[in-house]
Every structure is written in structure tokens, then in C-alpha cells.
């Protein structure tokens, strides 16, 4: 069995359902008695919208779901300004100065002139949550799931070393970047890439995988989202796609049967294309997970159904 992962980083191209998958993964990990933290870093209220709860404000880590299995998921929306003030407090005991700095616009200034600093602050907060200890327990959370920036930015976001390369060579920020990088590179951290079986998302997934590799951060799985499973084989799909089948459904008119056949032809062609893209992804040599397309939209039931599919296909090292 693979080592238990305590930090799951979920990325994917815009529109691939990255936030939904991150939420479902958190639920899947929240088996009996376990506490999971789901974090977002882009301030879009994605988590609260997904779980249909009021927006997560400031540093609160509110419980957003109790899973049928008996675990709990907490949500946190990480904000760079809050993280910087917390950082100043921890390392310099400067919480008041931090607030004054904020008034000056200094926080915005600092994160603007040193864009990498923002990412270090965000990942730094994740680091803190992963390592946080509470009484009688080895860790405050059994696992942390991060709804990370999209694939186009992910390698950059995670490469906190490069981000601070131009900054201080010594001192706390450097040390913190080193600690964050050690955690990210450890065997307990994995990155999951969410994709659709469409050309652009697959291309971006390939590019993201290539970009993450040099950072020495492990890629766990590629999650193929919104896939349409089919019991038919290639030959049957080919025939349908090329329009060389005729359908005879009793109770439908000839016209309706023709309309059904031509609609099915388009569906079959799409499925063949999806399979072709799935084949492309297998060349990455990473475990592939498939999540079925939910035609009814995303609600609580859909999240739990995705969570179940994740549990079935990933070795989710639950306690």
C-alpha cells in the first residue's frame, strides 16, 4: 500500500470541475472519525458555493460537511493578506505592525512587488494546517485537500523555491520556503490533475505534468472528469459514428428512429474521441481515474457520488 497522503493538491484547467473534484475528494477522505480540511486560495467562494453554505470569511475553518461515513470536512478560504499578518505575528510578534502595514497598503505592495511572495504565503498557510497539532492527536487534521490554481499556473505556484529566489537569501521567509518545499516534496504530498477528455484540457494536463516533474513534487493521479462510460466496443461505436447503422426501436416511428440514430452517431463519435484522448493520457504513465458525467448537475448527492467513485478507484489510505 502506498504511504498515507496528508496533503492532496488538486489542479486542472478552468471548466474541468477542479473545485468539485477537490470537494468530493475531501468527502471521500472523511471516513469515520476523520477530520479533513478543504482549502481554496483564489478567493472565489468556490467551496461555500459547492457545499451551499455561507461564504468562508477570514481565517475561519468552519465545518462544511459531515459525511455519511461519519467524518467531517472543514473549509478554509486562504487569503494572502491574512496569511502575511499571521506570518508577521508568528515570526516577528508583529501583529499590530501587521495591521498598520495593511493600512499603509504595504501588504498589497509587498505581494505586488514580489509576486512570488503571495504564493509562499498561501502555501505557507497550507503548510501550517498540515503540520498543526492539537491535544491528544498527532495532527489537527487527518488530511488537507487544496483546491489549487489552474494547471497553467500550478508548477509556478508550487515552486516556492524559485518564487523566493530573488528575495531574501537568508532569514525566516527563506527558511519557511525551504520547509514548505520539503513538505511538498515529501512522500505524504500528492498533486492530482483534473481534466476533461477534450483536446485542450488534455494538452494542458500533459504540459502541467511535464512542468511539475522538475519540482520533484509527486503527481498522484490524473482524474478524467465528466466521462461517459459505454458498454459498446470500438467496432460498434465506429459503425454508429459513421452513420452505417439503422435503429429499430419498437414504438418509435421511422423518422424518430432516424433522429435517434443520427443523435447517437454524434454521441458515438464523441465517445471515440474521448477514448483516443484517454489513450493519450495513458502515455503519461500515471494512474488514471474516471468520474462519470452527472447529467443532473452538481448537488450534494452528486458530490457524494463522485466521492464514492474516487474511493473505488484510488487507494484512499483512510484510517
Amino acid at each position: 500500500m502506498s504511504p498515507r497522503h496528508t496533503l492532496h493538491i488538486v489542479s486542472g484547467k478552468g471548466g474541468t470541475g477542479k473545485t468539485t473534484i477537490a470537494g468530493a475528494l475531501a468527502c471521500a477522505l472523511a471516513t469515520s472519525g476523520r477530520r479533513i480540511l478543504l482549502c481554496e486560495v483564489e478567493g472565489r467562494n468556490g467551496i461555500s458555493e459547492l457545499f451551499d453554505v455561507s461564504p468562508l470569511i477570514g481565517a475561519e475553518e468552519r465545518r462544511i460537511s459531515r459525511t455519511p461515513a461519519g467524518g467531517v470536512v472543514h473549509g478554509l478560504s486562504i487569503d494572502a493578506e491574512d496569511a502575511l499578518i499571521e506570518y508577521l505575528d508568528t515570526f516577528y510578534h508583529l501583529s499590530i505592525a501587521g495591521k498598520a502595514l495593511d493600512r499603509f497598503g504595504a501588504v498589497d505592495f509587498a505581494t505586488s512587488i514580489a509576486p512570488g511572495l503571495r504564493d509562499v504565503l498561501l502555501t505557507g498557510k497550507v503548510y501550517e494546517a498540515v503540520r498543526r497539532k492539537i491535544k491528544n492527536k498527532p495532527n489537527a487534521y487527518d488530511a488537507v485537500v487544496l483546491d489549487a490554481p489552474p494547471t497553467g499556473r500550478i508548477a509556478h505556484f508550487l515552486n516556492v523555491h524559485a518564487a523566493v529566489a530573488g528575495l531574501a537569501k537568508v532569514g525566516p521567509i527563506r527558511n519557511q520556503a525551504d520547509s514548505i518545499m520539503r513538505l511538498l516534496r515529501s512522500a505524504t504530498t500528492v498533486v492530482h490533475l483534473v481534466t476533461l477528455l477534450e483536446d485542450m484540457p488534455v494538452t494542458e494536463t500533459e504540459e502541467a505534468a511535464a512542468a511539475v516533474r522538475p519540482t520533484q513534487i509527486r503527481i498522484g493521479t490524473v482524474i478524467e472528469n465528466m466521462v461517459t462510460p459505454t458498454p459498446l466496443d470500438d467496432r460498434q461505436l465506429q459503425a454508429a459514428a459513421t452513420g452505417s447503422i439503422s435503429l429499430k426501436v419498437l414504438g418509435l416511428t421511422i423518422k424518430q428512429n432516424q433522429a435517434l440514430a443520427s443523435e447517437f452517431g454524434i454521441e458515438a463519435a464523441r465517445t471515440l474521441q474521448e477514448q483516443h484522448r484517454h489513450d493519450r493520457l495513458t502515455t503519461l504513465g500515471l494512474p488514471l481515474v474516471q468520474i462519470a458525467f452527472d447529467h443532473g448537475g452538481i448537488d450534494e448527492g452528486a458530490i457524494l457520488s463522485i466521492a464514492e467513485q474516487l474511493t473505488d478507484q484510488m487507494s484512499l489510505e483512510a484510517a
Binding site: K13, G14, G15, T16, T19, G43, R44, G46, E49, Y92, A97, A100, L101, F104, G105, A106, D108, F109, S112, I113, A114, P115, G116, L117, R118, P150, G152, G166, L167, A168, G171, D199, M200, P201, T203, T228, T230, L232, A240, I245, K248, V249, L250, G251, L252, Q256, A259, L260, S262, E263, F264, I266, E267, A269, R270, Q273, H295, G296, G297, I298
Partner: protein
């Protein structure tokens, strides 16, 4: 403020109750007073495809068009003839020029655009000093607002060029996949306030005017910042600010001019979305924000809307499939099952679109059906244009 491109109620009355005004793309294209069309929306909704399709349709209707794309899919870029990122508009081959139009396409190179601005507005020595500066390098390639800002800068440049020599009479802009819906509108203000903000001024001794009174408090702040970021970057910033000082005014002035151009009746915004909850939620932010800023919105383009020519309910399809289950007709069963899924998806999508329309009733829509293939060539792009205009 919404402009007058919505006419009759939305074309196929797909749902009872909510009459959605139809967004008439051909009317926008045909209005010679419209010189800029901006497509905005969240990532992955087909913004680039929509921009390219509108540009192509306008060109073939006789407009002289340039389309500014930010981050196109490789194959779409190739079909437009902008395979490389070189910041220069190039003619798109193989388009129909019978109506007297033309189409150029270009892909934004953020860093080069910034470099060009520096070179164009300072002496060679100063430009050299700025381009070498470490802080400038970080700012021009990484600062989160730079891409949005440079898209606006480039738009301003293309517009002046179009006005000066009549190369183009319509600019179609594909906006960057803004992380937050607000970045795109805030970028000029954000960057120019960073560049001439009081914080940067405070770094430059001696502080002038009333700000001098703040310098005691500031030196403490400065010390903290230095401890966090290191002294090197502070020095880089100081050097940069000194060299860049002369450019500040120009930056702000151009940002303001572009902002005014976008608010004028020569511009119009299209908000692009797909019929999913989160994409529509992002679209709602855009619509509200644009309205707040009094920007001219024409309406919404909803891409990848599923349709079916077979009016058989999912329940009926599934029951037919059940009847067939024993027989050796796997194709029929699968076709019916797929049809049932499609009908459920169509119902979910129209529910989402209806909710959006009832929350924002004045916003015109045009819907583009989901296509079986990726849009990677001119033929398909032309078809998307026809679908946008409801002339397919």
C-alpha cells in the same frame, strides 16, 4: 447601461415563462459605429473561439477586423495563422473577402508589450536601465495584473493605429482568463496605482510634501518590508522607480483613455458563459460589475448548449430501453440510454439558464449549441459564427 442590440424575444422559445431578449450579433457587426467588441468570461467557456468566430463573421461581412487573442489553443491559433507569439497582427489566410473586409489576428505577448511601452516612452539609456532591472523583470512577467493591463495597453495601441491609418475598423478582444472576474477592469487602476502609489514614493528619499510627516512611521515599515523581502529587492525597486518616474504619468493617462474608450458607445462587451452553474455565476459577476461601471453590455453568449432533434422524454426513452433489454439490440439500448441522459442534461441546462435570465431579465442572450468536434479550423469557426447569429 445596455445597448440596443437585443430585438425580438429569444429565438426558439425553449422555456415557458421567461422571455429572453435575443442578442443579435449581426446587428452589432453591422453597426459601423462599433469599433471594439470585448469578450469576457471565466476560463474554459470558449471565449477565444467566440472572439475568433465573431471576428471572422464580421470580416466576411465587410468589416476590416483585427482580433487580439490572449491564450488561444494551439490548433485554433494555427488555423488563424498566429502559430507564434510575436505580438504582430498577421492576415488570416483563406477568408472570404468578397464583401471587402479583411481579418488580421494576433496573440498578446505580455512581456514584449511592456518592453515596447518602456522603449517607446523613454530615452535609450533609461530604457536600457529599466529593462535590465530585476524588479522590472519580475513585474513584467509575473505581476498578476500585468496580463490584463498589457491587453488594455495593446488595445489602446491597436485603436490608435486603426484611427490613424484606417487599417482596421473593428477590434475584437479576447480577455485574459482573469483569476477573479474583477481583475480585468481593475488591472489598469491596480498597476498604475502600484507604479505611482504613495508607497513607492515613500521609498524615494526625500519624502515630499505632507508625506514627510509619515516618514518616522514609515522607516519602521520599511525595515519590516526589508526584513521580509531582503534589501536587494528594495534597492531594485528604488532604482526602478527613479528610472521609471517619467513614464508614470503616461501610464495613468493611457489607462484612463482606454477606460474611457471602453465606456463609450464605440465599444461593447459580450459576456461569455456555458450553461453550468459556476460559469453562469461568474458571468453574473461580470454583468453586475460591467453595469456598475456603466460599461456598454450587449449581452451574453452561452456556448455549448445541448440540443436534441428528438422530442422524446428521458422517462419514455428509458422505458423503451427497458423493454428492449432482453433482446439482442445493444445499439438501440445504448442509443436510448444516451438520449435519456442528453434530455436530462438539456433540462438541467435550461433550468440554469432560466434562473440566470429571471435574475437578470434585461440581459439579451444568444445560445450556441454544443458541437460534436473541437473548433480548430475556419470552416467550423464560420459555423460557430452562423450559430451565434442564429443563421445556421
Amino acid at each position: 447601461m445596455t445597448s440596443g442590440y437585443s430585438s425580438k424575444a429569444f429565438q426558439p422559445p425553449t422555456h415557458a415563462g421567461v422571455a429572453v431578449p435575443f442578442l443579435d450579433i449581426d446587428k452589432i457587426i453591422g453597426d459601423r459605429e462599433i469599433k471594439i467588441i470585448i469578450c469576457c468570461g471565466s476560463g474554459g467557456v470558449g471565449k477565444t473561439t467566440t472572439s475568433a468566430a465573431i471576428a471572422l463573421r464580421a470580416a466576411e461581412a465587410g468589416r476590416k477586423v483585427v482580433v487580439l487573442t490572449i491564450d488561444p489553443a494551439r490548433r485554433l491559433a494555427q488555423s488563424l495563422g498566429v502559430g507564434e507569439l510575436d505580438n504582430t497582427p498577421r492576415p488570416v489566410p483563406m477568408i472570404d473577402t468578397a464583401a471587402g473586409g479583411s481579418l488580421d489576428a494576433m496573440m498578446l505577448d505580455m512581456k514584449n508589450t511592456f518592453d515596447d511601452v518602456v522603449i517607446a516612452h523613454s530615452t535609450p539609456e533609461k530604457a536600457e536601465a529599466i529593462l535590465q532591472n530585476q524588479f522590472y523583470v519580475a513585474l513584467s512577467s509575473e505581476f498578476s495584473g500585468t496580463q490584463e493591463y498589457m491587453a488594455m495597453e495593446k488595445l489602446g495601441q491597436l485603436h490608435s493605429e486603426a484611427e490613424a491609418n484606417g487599417t482596421w475598423d473593428l477590434i475584437v478582444v479576447d480577455t485574459p482568463p482573469a483569476r477573479s472576474a474583477l481583475d480585468f477592469l481593475d488591472a489598469p487602476e491596480h498597476l498604475s496605482s502600484l507604479l505611482d502609489g504613495r508607497f513607492l514614493r515613500l521609498l524615494l528619499p526625500p519624502a515630499r510634501g505632507p508625506l514627510r510627516l509619515m516618514s518616522a512611521g514609515f522607516s519602521m515599515m520599511s525595515a519590516v518590508i526589508t526584513r521580509i523581502l531582503g534589501s536587494q529587492i528594495i534597492n531594485d525597486v528604488k532604482t526602478f522607480v527613479r528610472a521609471f518616474e517619467a513614464l508614470f504619468g503616461g501610464f495613468r493617462q493611457r489607462a484612463t483613455a482606454t477606460f474611457q474608450l471602453l465606456s463609450s458607445r464605440h465599444s461593447t462587451f459580450l459576456v461569455v458563459a456555458t450553461p453550468q452553474h459556476d460559469a453562469l455565476r461568474e458571468a453574473a459577476y461580470f454583468v453586475d460589475r460591467l453595469s456598475e461601471e456603466d460599461m456598454p453590455i450587449s449581452g451574453m453568449v452561452i456556448n455549448r448548449v445541448h440540443t436534441s432533434a428528438l422530442a422524446i422524454s428521458p422517462e419514455r426513452a428509458l422505458s423503451l430501453a427497458e423493454d428492449l433489454a432482453g433482446a439482442s439490440t445493444p445499439l438501440e439500448v445504448e442509443a436510448l440510454r444516451r438520449h435519456a441522459n442528453l434530455m436530462r442534461l438539456i433540462a438541467t441546462e435550461s433550468h440554469q439558464m432560466e434562473r440566470f435570465a429571471s435574475a437578470r431579465p434585461g440581459i439579451a442572450q444568444t445560445r450556441v449549441q454544443s458541437l460534436p468536434t473541437d473548433v480548430t479550423d475556419l470552416v467550423t469557426l464560420r459555423r460557430v459564427g452562423a450559430l451565434l447569429a442564429d443563421k445556421d
